[in-house]
Symmetry: C2
Subunit: 159 residues, 2 copies
Amino acid sequence: MNNALQLTSPQAAPYSDYKREFDFPAAAVFRAHADPALYGQWIGPRGLTTRVEQLDCRSGGSFRFVQHGDDGVEHAFHGVFHTVRDNEFILMTFEYEGFPDVVTLEYTRFEDLAGGRCRLAGHSVFPTLEDRERYLAGGMESGMAEGYDRLEELLGRAG
Amino acid sequence: MNNALQLTSPQAAPYSDYKREFDFPAAAVFRAHADPALYGQWIGPRGLTTRVEQLDCRSGGSFRFVQHGDDGVEHAFHGVFHTVRDNEFILMTFEYEGFPDVVTLEYTRFEDLAGGRCRLAGHSVFPTLEDRERYLAGGMESGMAEGYDRLEELLGRAG
C-alpha cells in the first residue's frame, strides 16, 4: 500500500485538499496531533527542531510552536482550535508568524480503515488565492509530506 | 453620505467582501463588537432577540450567542478569536450551529475616516463555494445590513 501524501489545489479556489494513510489506527494518529510531546517530534520538514510552547487541543484551546534548523533562525506558528472531537476531527486556525494575518482554516478528519490502518483527510482554506500560492511556493507540500513520514516513523518506534 | 452595506461575492472563489461606513469613530464601532452587553443589542436582523452567553473578545478567546424571533425557535452561533487588536482588527471563526462544521473565517478591519466617521471592511472566507451560496440564500446579506443599521442606531442612542 502507498501511504504517500496526495495533495491537490484547485486552480480557481483558495483550497488545498490532501489525504495521507497510515499503518496505525486513527486514535494513534490523532494523539500525535494532540499530545504536545509527540507533536513536536514530527511536525514540519526533516532537519527542523520544534519547541511546542502551547498545545491545548480541545475546542476553544490554542497552540504555538517555534521551529529552527541548522541556521538557528526561528519560525513561529500559532492558532486556535475551533472544534476538536477526539480521534475524529480537528478544525483549527493556523498562522505562520512570518506572514502576519494570513490565517488558514485547517480541517483534519481521521478515519479508521481495515487492518488497523487509518486515513487522514485535510482541507486547508486560505484567505486569498495569492496566499495559497505563497505557501505552496514556500515548500508547503514537501514540508507536509516529510512531517507525515516522520509521524509514521514516530508511531513505529513507539510500537 | 451613504453608509449602506456594500457586499460582493466573487463567482469563482468562496469569499464575501463588504464595507460599511458609520458616523462614529472606529473605537466606538469596535467596542460594539467587543462588549457583550452592546453586541447582543445589534447583531443580526431586526426582530430577533439575542442572548450573548460568552464574548471574550481577545486573541485566543471564544464567543457563543443564541437568537430567537417571535416563533421562539433558537439559533446558536459560536467561534474563537484568532487575533484581536483593539479598535483595529478582529479575525475570528464563526459557525452557525444549524450548519455544523461549516466554519467561516471572518476578517474585520476598523479604520477611522475624517469627521469622526469610520469604515468597517470585512472579508469572509467559506470552506466551500456551496457553503457560501447556502449562507447567501439564507438571508446573510439582509441580516448583516440590518445588524449594522441597528449598530448605528445603538451608537446614536448612546451619544
